[in-house]
Every structure is written in structure tokens, then in C-alpha cells.
Amino acid sequence: MPVNANSDQVLPALLARHRHNPTRLVQILREAQEALGWLSPQTLGIIAAGIDLPLARVTGVAGFYSFFHTEPRGRYRVLWSDNITDRMLGNQDLMQEMCKSLWLEAGHLSEDGLVSVDTTSCTGMCDQGPAILVNYRAITRMTSQRVAEVCELIRTETPVEQWPADFFNIDNNIQRADILLRSSLPPGDALRAAIARKPGAQSTLDEIKRSNLRGRGGAGFTTGLKWEACRNATGSGATPARYIVCNADEGEPGTFKDRVLLTEQADLVFEGMTVAGYVVGAHKGLIYLRGEYRYLLDHLESVLARRRAEGLLGHNILQQPGFDFDIEIHLGAGAYICGEESALIESLEGKRGVPRNRPPFPVTNGYLDQPTTVNNVETLAAAALIAKHGGDWFRQIGTEKSAGTKILSISGDCARPGIYEYPFGVSIAQVLEDCGATNVQAVQVSGPSGVCVAADDFKRRIGFEDLATAGAFMIFGDKRDMFEVARNFAHFFAHESCGFCTPCRVGTTLLKNCMDKIHAGHGSEYDINEIFKINHLLQAASHCGLGHSACNPMFDTLQKFRPAYERRLKSLAFEPAFSLDDALAQARQMTGRDDAGAHLATSE
């Protein structure tokens, strides 16, 4: 981050490049911060004036995303990925070491204003943790030695660009490849096949429908129906249009398959988007890439540039008159909720990432209120293969209800973490055997919002008819404390709740506090009942899926691992909500007292 960059010099050009367009606000804020280090009130004021929005609106958008700072955060911003898998690899001790070495407290800027160290939600490096982001560039496999090296580079104020390149190596770790990860489809082949299929785009839509392809983001909506609904919807307003959005906001803790797909098979994903554009009748595609994957941007832009040069993007693609399609990359800025498709669209429009009321759905009223197809990265890659090889080819892979393959992101207690692509229908037991996991007590399938599968159920299978998953597969050996797993997830949801609806905004924090209270040894049966009570409300009354599933980790573990909770409880029916003795600490300090009367046992 340049120190001396001046907002007067940087912002006018930046705003002009974005055509002073308020729907570009998230991108404007990100680029402004990259150039200036943080988003000062002055910077926000210039941006607000430049895109003709009230300052408060711009400040409100900046305040929504974790990666935007409206206060100085130092020239070096270190964020420790705090997924449970990072914790299992010792990230907490390493972070403490770093804080000690840099003479600072986590969450606070160092006194000289040079550096800050904090935690962040899972950065998608679970197979090579503990991971950090330094100025939003990922460093994986942190060790004590690497902590010391990083601290030294920070102390000597070495620009991150000059740090040893091998620090930033990220492994793909592909352990098992199938049709997607093994694909060597030449760029353009799927498009040529789609164009050749007569009488027109409808024929390729028919193939997608015949393939029985379903969304890979977890919800499993039938892709062909989504494309068809979007194709049949007519845009509205002055500039009617349709849009293809690729959801690469891979934020579900434990998921990192889109990172690898975009690294290894970017062409296939872009080809899938272009096929979707051809079928649906869209001229523009947008990729929403999570901010944690910022380092992929240059690679992806270069692939896009090459595809433009090859006539696979732009005007009259493959010499087809009127087949115009191009792709633009938007970067997220640290907000899990933007993985929800309508929140993602809000963010693409430069707003706070708050899920919309539905109906209407994005297929009719999406980006800029126009018909929009939002598909997962993996779905689009599969769609490209279907365009080439046909629906019948695809649906003979996998099971009857779950056609094709699924890429699993495997992390946690196993010998060979990484990326595994399986035909649907594989059992948990088989996966565990393949990745070298023994003495497993549980697998968290599809991340915190998914399900916790205990050993008795390892015969269950990956597929829409049994265990639907977005791909996360976190393994917990028999020495792991499942209460701590659930507590980590409770913190995650409280941090990532968008705050729109009452039950999720308040409920996720009450849950987090409840789990912390039990963790601190102050819990009672009462607190467990409170978890059930909050679960009951969140499932019924939350605005979106985040709230609906925010209690899942507690609910699942309380069903399957209740003793992990109970052994922490005081054997009392009720315990105070806060530590009574801690609550006397300030008064003790101010009075200098330390006698018996100056202390309170939290329970009698």
C-alpha cells in the first residue's frame, strides 16, 4: 500500500475509469483503498460527490464489508483465517506469537501505526492452513518460522511486493480429478458445438435440461430450468438486457474448490458463462470473485484477454453475427452473505450485500432489475462440458437424481487434504478412505450451514437425494472437541450476519454469547435450552438461508455430541450471564483493593 498516494491525485482518474457510475461503488471503494491504504472520510466524500450519492450511503456501503477500513489499519494488515481447520492447525498460538513479536494486541493498530493483526472468516486455504492474508495477499502453511520471517519483513518495512515469491505459493492439491478437473477441452470447442447444434440456442438449452445438471452451490436448483426462465423473461426499462452472473464468492468455510477450478480451468468456466450467454440471450457476464481470491485477478484477466483475442469474447463471437458477450470481474470485499445470489446482485450494483425479498427472483428481476442467471463456478464449468458432449453423456455420470460429478474440498484430520472430484453417489466412508482419514468422529458436510455427520452415518452418500453439498468436507478426528467446532461456527455466523432481519442479527450474537458462556465453564442446562429456543425462531423467521442455518452447527452437535456440551456445564440449573469477578476488576484496580470482599465467585 503506497503511503504517500494522495486522494486528490488518485480518485478523479479512478472515478472516471468507472464512469462515475454508482453501481460500481464496491469496485471504486476497493480500488481507492488499494491506492490509498484506507477509506478516510475525505476519500469517501470525494467518491460520494463523484458518483452523486449521499455520503452516508457511501459510508454505509464501506461499513458493510469486512475488508473496507474507514479507520487507518496500518501499512501492513495481517488477517488470520479463523476457520476451525485453521484452529486445528494451531493458528491461535501462531497469531499470539505474531502479536507478541510485533508488540501489539490483536484487533488493534500498532502504536507506530505500521501494522495491525486480526482474524477473518475462512479464506479458502483449509487444505494448506494455517493461512493469513497480508494486505489481502494469501500466505499459507504458516509456521513459527514463517511468523518470525513475516514479522521481520514488516519491521523492516519491506513492501509486500518485494517479499519472497515462494511465500505466496498456493497449491492446487488436486488429489482426484474427473470430468471437470481433467478436462482438456480446447477453448472455444463447447461454443462451437453449441453454435453448430441446430436449429439454435434452444437446442443447447435442451441438452442442458436433458443433462439434469443442478446447481453446485448447495441449493441444487435445476440449471436448465433457470436458464429457460431467464431466456423467457423479458427485460424492462430503458435498457432491457439479460445477464449471466458467475458466483465465485466461495465463502462457506471449508470450501475451496472454486479457487482451484478458476486456477486450473478458468477457460472452462468462462466458456460455460459464454454458452449461458448464448442460450439465455445475454450480452454481459459478471464474475463475483471473493475478495480473498484477489490474487487470482491478474490470471483471470489474462485469460479473458486471450479469449477476446481469440474471438471467444466480444462482438460476433466465432463470427456469429449478433453473438456478443463479454465478461467483467467484480471483487467482493469480505462478506459471506454475498454468496447468497440476491445479496450478490446487490453488491454487484454497488450496495450493501443484503438479500432481497423474494419473489421476484433474479431470473426475472436480477442485476439492474433485469433477468439474470446466477450460477456457481462449478455449474458453469459443467455446462460447458455438456454443451460440448451433450446431456445424455453427462447424465450417465453420477446417480439418477444427481447427474455428473461433485468437487469436494477436503480438509481437517486426514493424510491427504485437497481437492477430490467424484461422480455423485460416493459414500462418506469411501471419501474418508481415499483421503487417508482414520479414527474419524464426524464430518461437516457443506460447511457450517450444512450438516454434521457422525460416524454412524458414514454410509451416507454425496448427492441431492442424500447429502447435498456445496463442496466443503471438513474431517474431525476422535480427539477433536465437537463443542469447539460448533462454537467456531457460531462465531462465524455472528460475524457474517448482514443484520437485516431481527432474528438473525440479534439471534446469532445471542448464540455466540451462549456458546462462549458454556466455553468459559459458566454454562448450565438453561443455556442449552436457550440454544434450542433461538434455533426454533431463526429457522422460522429469518430473512434468508444464513439465518435459517445459523443454528445448524449447534443443533446438530447437540443431537449427536451432547456430552461435549454437558461436560462443560456446571451441574446447576442456572449460571450468571457474565463473570461476576471480572465485573469487579475495574473497581479493584481503581481502589487498589484485593481483599476477600473485593472478589465474587461466579457461582457459589
Binding site: G63, A335, G499, C501, V506, T508, T509, E530, A541
Partner: protein, 252 residues
Amino acid sequence: MNPDMTEPVSSPLVSSTFTLDGDEIPYAPGQTVIQAALAAGKYIPHLCYHPEFKPHGSCKLCTVKVNGRPASSCTTAAQDGLNVESETPDIKDKRRTLVQMLLVEGNHFCPSCEKSGNCMLQGLAYDLGVMSPHFPQIFPTRPVDASHPDTLLDFNRCILCELCVRASSEVDHKGVFALSGRGITKHLIVNSESGRLGDTDFAATDKAAEVCPVGVILKKRVGFAVPIGERKYDPVPISVQTVSHTHKKETV
């Protein structure tokens, strides 16, 4: 969102109905469940819903069961034959829990609040029989803003319904209010570089000055004009009042 949803449609030629707790409720095309219910004299609790604004769906107090599935009645379009349940013990219990969540999220000290008695949150809490906040208090720190000559902002009581945000933007065309932060740190902010209301073009005559359902946006110098105990929701419960008010408007 159907743009017609902003205004309740009161067509005399109503032919379609849905059921609400067993009663037939007539509705006009474009109406939401809550609009039709209120027009028919059936109260459904709500805080962020306001008849003059587009449905928001954030407070969740108006949660009902529609054909067995939970839904916000302010964002659900009325449709023929829907089976809507509202006053069931389970739904009322959930609403109580929601009110309790709002009570512990902010700092709601009714005895020292000028809005007491005129406050929708309090009125709802009375109506639902909320005897305590139940959960541990969060006790957030939210400084008040007394910078404006005519209006006081006491953020301690904010329930984040966004009515002032919507009113200032859609009616006053000023954009004085916005939201920042997210999750439990979400908070109301004011459109000036200082962050103070006194440095905005806000006026006490703005629509945004009158829509706050709780005691955040308060007129200065009118404290205790009406004594405690004689205020809006003191004599008659909010449920009875809202419905008779809507009825009156309908008949006029």
C-alpha cells in the same frame, strides 16, 4: 416488487379472499397479506411495515404461517385461497421472542424515554404480554446526537427498521439517514462529514421526523406535553387502535 404494494388498494369490487385464522379476508389485486388483513380489521403485529412505504420485511414481527410455511405477511402477496395463521400460540411466542431480542439489542429505558406510551415497540410488547427482556442485555454504547436545533437523535432505542432512511430518501429526497456496519454492529448513520444531524439539511418538518416507531427521532422542547399514562397506547392496546384507525381511513 410490485410497485402497487406501496398503497393499499381499496377496490369496492373485491371478489377474491384468503383465510386468516379461519376468517375470510377479502383482498384487491396487488395487496399484501398484511394490507388486506388490516383493511379487514384484523391486526397483524408489525414495526418496519408502514402503509406509505414499500414493504421492507426486516423486523419479522409480522411473521405468519402461509399454507403451513413461515412468511412475512408484509412481503407476501395476497392470493386466492391462502391459509394464513397468525394468532397461534407458537407464532405469538416467536413474536414475543423477537420483541425481547429488540429489547436487549438496544438500550430501552422506558421510564426516561419521551416516546414512552407512544412507542410501537413498547405497545407491541404490552400487547404480546412481554414481561421481561428474557435474554442477557447487550448494553451497546450509542452516543446521542443533540446537534440539531429542533431534533434529538437517541440511537440507544434504534430498532433498525429503516423507516427514517426510506422516508428521507423517498419522500424528503434528502438521504439524511443510512445504515452502516453489519450484523449486530449495524447502526444508523447521518449524512454529513461530521456524522452529526446538525450538519445536514434535515428539518423537523421532514417526513423522516415523524416515522420513527420508537424513541430515536424526537422533537426538542416538547417533553411531557402529554403525561405518562395518557399517551397513545396507554388507554387502548396497539392492536385495537391500529385496526380501528385503518378501518376509519377505509370508510372515509
